[in-house]
Symmetry: C2
Subunit: 365 residues, 2 copies
């Protein structure tokens, strides 16, 4: 005897499919087939089995199911942190779509640490999730590409599927799906919005250290300026990380450095905008009366401060990632492997047309 009968040891033993089969007077195969619904069955048998399931309160063992080759019932998402609203909203989208498809959602956080990212991917690999969604801003250097290539191949080998979300695409030989959103287009649009209101000196606040997201945003900003024939002044691009207090600092330092020579601010994201707004207020400058301001992300707090910003479809990113991966899992030849979701301006009340006291550029209008 290898294993003691459970009857004396524990009061009760988990209910297995064998118990259900015995209770219903059929074989385990029949129970399995009826529950998975992938096989014809006589209505009478069906009823018997379902009743047994209900009476015994049976739920299948996911481990056994996964082992026996049935497709997995879970999707995985890896983010920097769950408390950051940006990631939280993407995660919410993943959650939602997973729930719709009857799957559950495994979440890993990395805190931005590549070491932990690797460890988490290994765990996900063990878990055989249907897909592993990696989300967020990143430095797209060679080390990154190589790492992602490794992940993608290892996951593919385990029957899983890597999805990059809001990250740049890899080479065509890497088995990864990509869903991103239009940072450059959004930045272009909202910069144009300011330019159309007559603003010419637009301060840009944001990161500029090869992270892809801020890079794309600043690219849109520059392109809009160029297309409107506004000279590009590097002095108007202030560098800081994408946090609230950095917005505060950047404005303070800019105002301390000399007289204000900007009429509008383009904050690299809404958090920066919130911090910048506070700093401006502390200098007696009101938005939008004295300075116009726009942001990027459209996360809930931006509605509270009436910020005109660029809407990023965070939840849709997550949902799309899941949808794409599952479509691919169902049909290996599914064509979608790279989608770019659109962004759009949300106009609130933080921009005013510029009335220039002097008419240095009379052609402007």
């Amino acid at each position: 005897m290898v294993r003691r009968a459970a009857s004396d040891d524990q009061g009760r033993r988990p209910v297995t499919i064998r118990d259900v089969a015995a209770h219903a007077g059929v074989s385990v195969a029949t129970v399995s087939r009826i529950l998975s619904g992938t096989y014809p069955s006589a209505p009478a048998t069906r009823t018997k089995v379902l009743r047994a399931v209900r009476e015994l309160d049976y739920v299948a063992n996911a481990n056994a199911r996964g082992l026996a080759g049935a497709s997995s019932r879970s999707v995985a998402i890896i983010v920097n942190s769950v408390v950051s609203p940006h990631y939280a909203h993407v995660a919410q989208g993943v959650q939602t779509q997973a729930a719709i498809e009857g799957k559950l959602c495994i979440v890993g956080t990395t805190g931005g640490d590549a070491e932990r990212e690797l460890a988490t991917v290994q765990l996900m690999r063990e878990e055989h999730a249907e897909c592993v969604i990696l989300v967020g801003n990143v430095v797209a250097d060679d080390a990154y590409r190589e790492r992602m290539g490794d992940y993608a191949r290892a996951l593919a080998l385990a029957g899983s599927q890597l999805v990059l979300c809001g990250r740049p695409t890899l080479g065509p030989d890497v088995p990864a799906l990509v869903v991103e959103y239009d940072n450059t287009g959004g930045a272009y649009a909202i910069t144009s919005h300011l330019l159309s209101a007559g603003h010419r000196r637009i301060l840009f606040l944001g990161r500029r250290d090869s992270y892809t997201t801020p890079e794309s945003r600043i690219a849109g900003y520059r392109k809009a300026l160029a297309d409107h024939n506004v000279p590009h002044d590097p002095g108007l691009e202030v560098v800081g990380s994408m946090e609230r207090r950095e917005g505060h600092r950047m404005i303070n330092e800019t105002l301390a450095a000399g007289p204000r020579d900007f009429t509008a601010v383009f904050a690299g994201n809404d958090l920066i905008a919130a911090g910048a707004r506070q700093a401006l207020r502390e200098h007696g400058l009101r938005i939008p009366e004295d300075v116009s301001m726009v942001g990027f992300d459209d996360l809930p707090p931006s509605a509270d401060i009436d910020l005109t910003t660029v809407h990023v479809p965070h939840e849709e990113l997550g949902r799309t990632a899941v949808r794409m991966a599952l479509a691919r899992a169902r049909d290996k030849s599914d064509p979608a492997e790279h989608v770019m979701l659109g962004t759009h301006i949300v106009v609130r009340d933080s921009v005013r047309p510029l009335i220039r006291p002097d008419a240095k550029q009379p052609d402007a209008e």
Copy 2:
């Protein structure tokens, strides 16, 4: 992770423990033992095996491992929504502790719907997570108690463990762990803080419909008033749900109903405080110069608005839940089955001592 899989790569089939055993020239049992580290082994064998693992880039199959009876590698958490900061921070704590213990984290959301909660618990039951953490505010009626009892028993039968987080405890015969935090004590302390500053007419804004969290907070508020011999005026308890816009509404309606007869506001949580603050400002009332205000939760935005509030150890709640469940899993007789975490006041700049123009109560001070 090894850069490339072994050169022969066997038709791109996932690497199993058998492959590792063959590669290292030992039996699968030896590999299993060495990897789980639960058995003595000769250093030479160990080295061989670990090298094989590295060269083949092997990771164990979690399903097989789970099936074979090894303890599960995952903890589960069920929340209303991941985008709500309160839940997000608890989830972060769960995440963190899970990562420390080398486990991963399954997340389910219910949107507050009992139907979805049940479905999610069933999924978790299938998954055989080591514990299932249910977090959040709830109406503690009989239906709730019965439902939780069912969950707890079903999970226990599946070798899992129900943990209630921030929820009231159940009967002693229900196999569930509880970790909560001191709502009443926090509310008592912060109300006393206002009272010590001389405030007597304190407006309470919050829910009052048998949800346990606001109920406990209002209880602390009332007790503090009673202990300071301040008569309780039901007219000062304004009812609304725990959202930002509700705070706004409640203040507006209160001010519309008659002349202001309060000198301080105790908002049921920080969101309400933010909304209330905005509404007060719109009426030309500044905080803390004209009206003092305190909140509850101490989530990040409250630092931005300099709000004196009650700190709730959100992350610690999540971490404790995981720790307790795992301790219990390791040692069935572990005594901890109900902990109450403390809360404390965080003093910022939203309360001013009250200077009463008239001296109706000269004894006060």
